[in-house]
């Protein structure tokens, strides 16, 4: 009996460690998948900033419009919410181009403050327009091929289909965006405009069109992210705020204007949000007194904003930033 006791407690400790490790892996996996979506949301913001040095405060509203486009396509035509993806992309592209020609083009002539306040005004306008048309009630998609589906990977790691699809799409979007910018003539023209708009104009690059293209691509990627998000995230006119904040933090972390930076930073942000369940799991399985009762889930987004703050103070150009 005496011999058995330490053996028993040792195996018990092993089981606890296994459980704890499993919980941490689950949290990290789910964080990485959300992170890919956050990356996709931030991608549009970083493209627009990279090409034109304009901070688009209405970015979250583009996302909200993408979500509504996905939702209305699914409910209006009684089709799977996934069909909303191309609809959202086209809608977002047109919206981006329209915003450029209708507003941003004029803002460029003014001081930097005009650009800030201009897109801020666009944010308020789009949000309240949505409030007027769609009302304030949150809506969500309840049926669909992916909605509510999930599968179990290995020992108890649950993968939600909607998030997996969002993650895959986001990887595809990142790769194609990288290919477009680095391997095509249009992409090189875009990059040239980003590096030195005046010189690019002298070389015969239609910079005006390039700017519009940047807005179109930015709008399309974020609206597509929205159409995917609506599979598992309820939409209401104010939904963009949270995402704008997270996208800013992501872009700042990855470096303004950096495509790969946005991808890596998105993953980091996803994991940061999932610190709470890791904390809870440590708390639960180790039973350390004093940790209990701390309601860490209430602060789950605070870790992201804290990182944003620290990056801004210690490395303002971000992890992969090339613009100063």
């Amino acid at each position: 009996m005496l011999v058995c006791l330490p053996l028993n407690s040792a195996s018990k400790a092993d089981i606890i460690m296994d459980e704890l490790l499993l919980q941490i892996v689950r949290a990290v996996v789910s964080g990485l998948m959300m992170g890919l979506v956050f990356g996709l949301v931030a991608l549009g913001l970083t493209i627009i900033f990279g090409v034109m040095d304009i901070v688009n405060f209405a970015h979250g509203e583009f996302l909200m419009i993408g979500m509504y486009a996905g939702l209305l396509t699914a409910t209006g035509f009684k089709v799977d919410p996934l069909v909303g993806l191309p609809v959202g992309a086209v809608f977002g592209f047109l919206l981006g181009v329209m915003c450029y020609y209708g507003l941003v083009r004029f803002l460029l002539r003014g001081p930097v403050a005009a650009q800030l306040f201009g897109t801020f005004g666009l944010m308020l306008f789009l949000r309240n327009l949505a409030l007027l048309i769609m009302g304030a009630d949150p809506r969500s998609v309840h049926q669909g091929i992916l909605v509510g589906k999930s599968f179990v990977l290995g020992p108890d790691i649950i993968i939600e289909m909607t998030k997996l699809a969002a993650g895959i799409l986001s990887v595809v979007a990142f790769i194609s965006m990288w290919w477009l910018l680095n391997r095509t003539r249009v992409g090189m023209a875009l990059t040239a405009t980003a590096l030195d708009a005046q010189a690019a104009r002298y070389m015969g690059i239609p910079t005006e069109k390039m700017n519009a293209l940047a807005w179109g691509l930015g709008g399309a990627t974020v609206a597509m992210a929205g159409a995917l998000l609506v599979n598992f995230w309820p939409v209401e006119p104010n939904v963009g705020l949270l995402f704008t904040m997270i996208a800013f933090a992501t872009v700042a972390l990855g470096g303004f204007g950096s495509i790969s930076g946005a991808a890596v930073a998105g993953l980091i942000v996803g994991v940061l949000i999932n610190i709470a369940p890791i904390w809870d799991a440590i708390n639960l399985f180790t039973g350390i007194e004093g940790l209990k009762g701390l309601q860490i889930h209430q602060f789950k987004y605070s870790f992201v904003y804290l990182t944003y703050f620290l990056i801004m103070v210690f490395r303002p150009r971000g992890l992969f930033g090339w613009k100063h």
Binding site: S30, M34, A136, S150, I158, F232, L242, A276, D280, F285
Partner: protein, 433 residues
Amino acid sequence: MQRKLWIPALCILMVATLAIPAMAAEEIKIGLIYPMTGGAAAEGKELRDGAELALEIANNVRNDLDMAMAKNGGIKSLGGAKVKIIIQDHQGNPQLGADLAKKLIQDEKVVGILGCYHSAVTKTVAAVADRFGVPMINDSSTSPALTKEGYKWFWRTTPHDTIFTQDLFVFLEGLTQGKVRGVKAVDKKELLPVVVACEKTEWGSNVEAAIKEIGKATGFEPQVSILYAAKAPDLSSEVQSLLAPKPGTMLFAGYGADAILMIKTLKSQKAKPRVVWGQNAGFESPEFLSSLGDDVVGILTRTVFSPRVGEVKKVAQQVNDMYRAKTGRDLSGASARAFTAFQTWIYVLEKAGSTKPEDIQKAANEIKIDAAELIVPWAGIKFTTSGVDIGQNELGTGMIGQYQKGKDGKITLEIVYPFELATADMIYPIKGW
């Protein structure tokens, strides 16, 4: 000569203008402050419809209905004065609620206030009502703290969360003792561990505290207990924490969209609990049922009303029929309680025979409404006037319902607690998703 005529003419004019509000006072205004937009908009509509039905019955004569207020066609002791309601939308925002209360009191000159559903909003509105000395009756806010403030102008008809939470643990113990209809005594270990997630405003955090306190005393102490923002658009990290200890019993308090999101997330994370219980609110909204469909089957919710009450109370059946004719829906916990609280307003006014705040205060403190008058299965309405729980209806009781699918394929809330009122065998364990 002409100048002399001016003075009496002016006097007459002044008297006439003063007389208009005096004549208009025939109509008694009650201000309703409810969430008509935002996450709890669906419940707001339920509450409004419930109160409006009580108003219709009070202002008209319905001889077929066995209810004192259905016979009078207005407030008899006030010369048959009609009651009018003014509805305001607080959007779930406590500050807006307080501003609306001031507006109702100062601009609309309401005689009293009814509302506000969200405990956090009721808290600020009750403070305004107390400051202005205007009576307020609360129908559906269940934070226990509300009647512990020592307000002199605040009365609550619904039982509060401490009472409801005690019911929950009596029910769970009953489950281990074989008292629940259709379920053999369950080994307590099957129900453990218990995990809790509540939204973090006034209401949810009080529910969480009550569950922890009473759970500890009854041997159902929660292993994991989480507070989250009701507007949180994603609950996957919360659900992961909840599922870590492999819970047997999951307890929730959520308002609207968050309750739906919680069940969806549980489903997609393949949760396998045996008992899922929600503290009313979001778990009983029509949206909960319509958006989750069959996924709600087996979920328990604390409630104060089920259309099945009509089987034991004729008056509940009659009012439910009227409500269905008016809205196309059955009465819910929200609409039944709004109805009951508005009914209480009518009886208080009738007893007061005056619209002076002091008279209404006296009437409210003395009123006793019989169980037979009510559509909810309570022992009546009588407010405490001393002790720690001032203004609380001491005759209210809670129920626990379970969503079950009938033979016709329609999902209804069957009563499983109180044990003697059970209308169906309980489904145990919950089938899951």
